[in-house]
Symmetry: C2
């Protein structure tokens, strides 16, 4: 990729980025992420669950039958940390853990009916905000939004993201 100069016109992939512009982007991420998590957090705050429970349920719902190890990689936490969350979700009957048929060491994770209900409640809240943001910003902005976010991920996270993403495309 070529580097931009002062004469570079917009619309090309040549950018002069001042510290001020970048700082604004950083603050936008900070404030937007707070909004992004606010709705599910509000719902979860009234129960014994937190954001970690939501994340686990989200990805189990997204990929039913996923293994603990898969989930570990996607979420990027330690097994001990995830295990604490999974244990309560299983104990409360929101998640079911089935021993693998081919490899009995593996546990395949599924949401129960009750789990799906809660997951949907949380997702609906989060999707609602995402939907209005998308509508307010418009389709072109949404495409740009996704492009910048993808470029911001760590290569490994990006691999995980694209692996999951392409299933639904």
């Amino acid at each position: 990729m070529t580097d931009g100069g002062p004469g570079a016109h917009g619309g090309e992939n040549l950018l002069f980025l001042t510290d001020e512009q970048l700082r604004k982007g950083i603050e936008a991420m900070f404030f937007a992420y707070r909004g992004f998590t606010a709705d599910p957090d509000r719902i979860l705050g009234e129960m014994a669950y937190g954001r970690a429970h939501h994340r686990a349920m989200h990805f189990i719902n997204r990929s039913p039958g996923t293994t603990v190890n898969n989930l570990l990689t996607v979420l990027g936490v330690t097994k001990q940390s995830l295990n604490r969350v999974l244990r309560t979700l299983i104990a409360d009957g929101l998640v079911e853990s089935r021993v693998g048929k081919r490899d009995k060491r593996e546990r395949h994770l599924f949401l129960t009916e009750e789990g799906r209900t809660l997951e949907r409640e949380l997702s609906d809240a989060q999707r609602g905000r995402m939907r209005s943001a998308y509508r307010e910003a418009g389709p072109d902005a949404v495409a740009g939004f996704r492009r910048v976010l993808e470029a911001m991920m760590d290569p490994e996270m990006r691999r995980q993201y694209l692996k999951i993403k392409e299933r639904g495309d």
Copy 2:
């Protein structure tokens, strides 16, 4: 704003948003935010500081002389939580707290030289990633990125964001 229908063409502010599309956006936010905080976290992990210290220093650097109350509002945490962070930063000589001249109840916060050094180190890491993401995605994508993020903020956060943003514009 009019609502989109199946015949709506792209480029207009009429959007059909499937749950799948929204889910992809949600996951993009999740993975990207991890990347966004990864570099400063790595630096902070080697010291006695965490993400909260970085945030405080960021906004003190951004608005030198800001009061504790201002910072509280911007960061959206309790004063007890912020106080814990500020106490260590002041004790370690990274932040200076000056009694207000007009209102002696207020404390105005500044980064010391040492504080500016650390803040810059953390910011440089974060800006570096933001810069390459922006370059990779291109100017139009960046504009869209910012538009979606702004639309995603809570109204009050958005007010805070715009108040700070316009100073630098």
